[in-house]
Amino acid sequence: MGMSSGSGDKKSIQSEINVTPLIDVLLVLLIIFLVVMPIMMKMETLEIPRKIQENEAPDPNSIMLTVKVKVTGDIVFSENEKDTPIVAAELVRLLRPKLEAVAARGADRVIFVDFEDSVPWANVVATMDQIRSLATDVNHDAVKVALKVKEEPKPQ
C-alpha cells in the first residue's frame, strides 16, 4: 500500500513498454486501409458514337479520320473518305500532324477505327493503344478512339 507505484515495490518491475494495444491499433488501421483501398481497373475507353441523324448537320470543323486494319496487318488510313494504304509502323507518325490539325480547328481529337472480321482482339486493342499513345495526358484520354459502326445492309 502507500505509494501506488515506485521503485520500492517488492514485485519485479516491468520495464518494457506494453506493445499489445499498439499492435492492435496498427492491425485495425491496416484493415481499414485495405478496405478503403479501391480496386483499380485498367481500361481503354472506346467511344461508340451514335449515327448522325439526317436532320443533324455534322460539325463543319471535324475531319473524319479513319484507320482500317486488315487481317494481314496492313492499315488503310482515310481522311474524309479518301483512302491511303500505309505501313503499320508509320501509323503514329502519320496521325500526329493530322491530329494537331484537327485540334487547331477546335474539333475533338477523334480517330475512328474499323477492323476486318478475322482480326484478333489483341490487334484491335494494340491499334487502339498506338492511337492513344498520341495523347500526352496521364490517362491517355485526350485522343478518343471511336468505333466505326457499320451501316445496316438494308437501305437507309
Binding site: M41, M43, L46, W121, K150
Partner: protein, 145 residues
C-alpha cells in the same frame, strides 16, 4: 494477493491468427478479378480508375458471352437481350451510382473481331451507350508492341 492464478484462456494468439486470416482473405478478394477470367490483351496507354461496381461483360476465346460470372452462351440476339436485362437490372439497383451507364468489357486476346463487334453494336444501337470501357492487361516491357 501475491501470485494469483490466472485461469482465463489467453486469447491473444487466437486473435492474431484470426486477424491474419482476415487479411489473407481480403487480399485474395482484391487479387481475384471481376467477371469471367479471360486472357486480356496487353496495352500500355491505358487509363486507371477505381472499381465503380459497373457490370462486367466478358467474351471468352470461343466467343461465348458472360455476364459477371454467369455464362450466357454464344453471342445471339437472345443472349444479347439477356445480357441487356442483367446489365440494366444492375444499373437500376447500383452498388455505386458512378457505375450506372457503364460497362466493363473483357474480351479475350485471341477472339476474333467479328465475335466482339455484334456486342459493341448492340450496346450502341439497342442499349444506346456512347462508350464502353475495354479491359486490358498492363503490358510488360519485354514484349514488343
Amino acid at each position: 494477493m501475491i501470485d494469483v492464478v490466472r485461469n482465463d484462456i489467453n486469447v491473444t494468439p487466437l486473435v492474431d491468427v484470426m486477424l491474419v486470416l482476415l487479411i489473407i482473405f481480403m487480399l485474395m478478394t482484391l487479387i481475384m478479378g471481376r467477371g469471367h477470367d479471360v486472357q486480356l490483351p496487353p496495352a500500355r496507354n491505358f487509363s486507371q480508375e477505381k472499381d465503380k461496381m459497373q457490370p462486367v461483360v466478358s467474351i471468352d476465346v470461343e466467343g461465348n458471352l458472360w455476364f459477371e460470372k454467369t455464362k450466357l452462351g454464344p453471342v445471339t440476339p437472345a443472349t444479347l437481350k439477356e445480357m441487356q436485362d442483367q446489365v440494366e437490372g444492375m444499373w437500376k439497383a447500383p452498388k455505386n451510382p458512378d457505375g450506372v451507364g457503364k460497362i466493363y468489357l473483357k474480351a479475350d486476346n485471341k477472339v476474333e473481331y467479328i465475335k466482339v463487334y455484334p456486342v459493341l453494336e448492340y450496346m450502341n444501337k439497342t442499349m444506346l451507350m456512347q462508350q464502353v470501357d475495354l479491359a486490358i492487361a498492363k503490358d510488360s516491357d519485354s514484349e514488343g508492341p
